[in-house]
């Protein structure tokens, strides 16, 4: 306990705590969108596909925050859009195309990282290392958060219409294809911003669970967004305080806590 209080006094502890709050909130907020869009599995596939982007970014521009982040964003967009393109231009269903492309990309990324001698880093990319997040990472998370909150608030009406009834949206002349690309880009950005904190494999939990839990408890879309954000932030902070004294992995603790809350919420859910 004494150790923990000492740790809390250090600046890195404050930064980690802030990171938990910001990333938890942003991912939780965006998770409502993922749940309403019914694209959880797709996002899971894309999050794994970020690995080769990181690897290629490091390969091309050297080991650094920005090279990894830019690589991840590019890979996320590329894999998502290419699977969409494959599905549109062939008889293959979108999820099959996505599964093939993302697992191949994942294998490629792993191979490059091992070849570069970054085995130690691989663990961090897969499961996250919130302690190693720099100030720049925190700024990226802030930026994504601001874009997500502003975008979803300003365009709430067309967005909800598109989510619920894309045909009506299209018949009223809304640019539905642009909306779907913009939403996809926003989700990938949220994914990338939390990549270092919870890793490529666990980030899916933070990007689905809060919205999913809120859906069990509420029948209002806006409550799902704000509640998801608060739940994500709250869980992350709680995990921060639990994981250090018990010597647990912080990223995994966040996801496990969300899983536990999901079980409770399912028991308390509104019966349909």
């Amino acid at each position: 306990m004494k150790d923990f209080l000492q740790y809390l006094a250090e600046p890195i502890a404050m930064r980690t705590l802030w990171t938990c709050v910001v990333i938890g909130f942003v991912d939780g907020y965006v998770s409502a969108l993922v749940v309403l869009r019914r694209s959880s599995l797709q996002i899971g596939a894309v999050s794994c596909a970020l690995l080769p982007g990181i690897a290629l970014g490091i390969l091309l521009f050297g080991l650094g925050q920005w090279s990894a982040l830019v690589g991840a964003v590019v890979a996320g967009l590329l894999v998502g859009l290419s699977s969409l393109f494959v599905a549109r231009s062939s008889a293959l269903h979108h999820d099959a195309a996505l599964s093939i492309i993302h697992s191949a990309a994942f294998a490629l990324g792993y191979m490059i990282l091992v070849r570069l001698g970054l085995q130690q880093k691989v663990d961090d990319w897969l499961f996250g290392n919130i302690m190693s997040m720099s100030f720049a990472d925190l700024c990226v998370a802030y930026g994504v958060g601001v874009v997500a909150l502003l975008g979803l608030t300003i365009f709430k009406r067309p967005l909800l219409l598109w989510l619920f009834d894309a045909r009506m949206a299209a018949s009223l002349g809304l640019p539905t294809r642009s909306i779907s690309y913009a939403v996809y880009a926003l989700i990938v950005l949220a994914l990338v911003s939390s990549l270092q904190a919870v890793g490529a494999l666990l980030t899916l939990g933070l990007l689905v669970a809060p919205g999913g839990i809120m859906r069990l408890l509420t029948n209002r879309a806006s409550t799902m967004f704000w509640g998801g954000g608060c739940l994500g932030a709250g869980c992350s902070v709680l995990a921060f305080f639990v994981s250090y004294p018990l010597n647990l992995h912080l990223g995994a603790t966040i996801i496990l806590l969300l899983g536990a809350i999901f079980c409770v919420a399912w028991l308390l859910r509104k019966k349909e």
Binding site: L36, R157, R167, M168, S171, L172, G173, N219, E272
Partner: protein, 254 residues
């Protein structure tokens, strides 16, 4: 089914003016990568106040025509005019009614919120709904006798109720053209009769109801006009009582 005590003339045809007219001229549409045009040179015009059944066997182009009218698909040739102007310039005039499986029924939305969506085109993305909009939404719900369902989630509704909710949304939109894709599918006889009567009443108040429809035997009961299609070509168009002849039906279906 329409509550007559609360009858509101939603842009009902003013006797001093000509009713609105939908005019389709040489309309062609082709799906990407399709060898043959899905719709080939359709020609018809119809006034508000009528119900039109788009009929034909599977693959005749019924849904394609509705998609083009709704602006979900672009035509490759020809014109769709509304009172002489291109229809796609006045999108608010067209209300598309989805089938049950075309919307996400698990979406967290109440009946009232869904009907309020009909006001979005008038309000744009940012303007808040005012008293005027609330009045229109209330009237639309009362007209379709769904006012007592307004706080229910759409997941709890039956198929028929959901259809009335979507019709109420179209009324709240104040659209003159209602497009329905296979609205009678899955309804039992009393349900179909009620829907047919309702569509007729909505049309006679000054709207144009266009629906794809299958049943040759009952078309004349529910619709004033019919458009017969086969492989995207127009076999005939006119009042049901005149064009649903043995000859026409044979060239459409056999």
């Amino acid at each position: 089914m329409v509550n007559n005590k609360d009858h509101i003339c939603w842009g009902a045809a003013n006797p001093n003016h000509l009713p609105h007219e939908l005019r389709v001229r040489g309309l062609c549409a082709t799906y990407p990568r399709a060898a043959q045009p899905t719709l080939a040179k359709l020609n018809f015009s119809i006034h508000c106040g009528h119900t039109l059944a788009v009929m034909g066997p599977n693959g005749a182009g019924k849904s394609t025509l509705l998609n083009v009218l709704a602006g979900l698909m672009s035509s490759t040739n020809g014109k769709v005019l509304w009172d002489g102007k291109a229809l796609h310039q006045t999108r608010r005039e067209v209300a598309w009614l989805p089938q049950r499986n075309q919307v996400d029924l698990s979406f967290p939305i109440t009946v009232r919120e869904l009907v309020e969506m009909g006001r979005y085109p008038a309000l744009g993305p940012w303007r808040a709904a005012g008293e005027h909009d609330a009045t229109i939404v209330d009237k639309a719900m009362r007209t379709l006798s769904i006012a007592d369902l307004q706080q229910r989630q759409i997941l709890e509704l039956s198929g028929g109720q959901l259809q009335r909710v979507f019709l109420a949304r179209a009324l709240a939109q104040e659209a003159h053209i209602l497009l329905l894709d296979e609205p009678f599918t899955g309804l039992d006889a009393p349900g179909a009769n009620a829907l047919g009567k309702l569509l007729g009443e909505l049309a006679h108040e000054g709207r144009l109801v266009i629906a794809s429809y299958h049943d040759v035997d009952h078309a004349a009961c529910y619709f004033d006009y019919a458009l017969l299609l086969r492989e995207g070509k127009q076999i005939d168009f006119g009042p049901c009582t005149q064009i649903l002849t043995r000859n026409n039906l044979q060239s459409t279906y056999s």
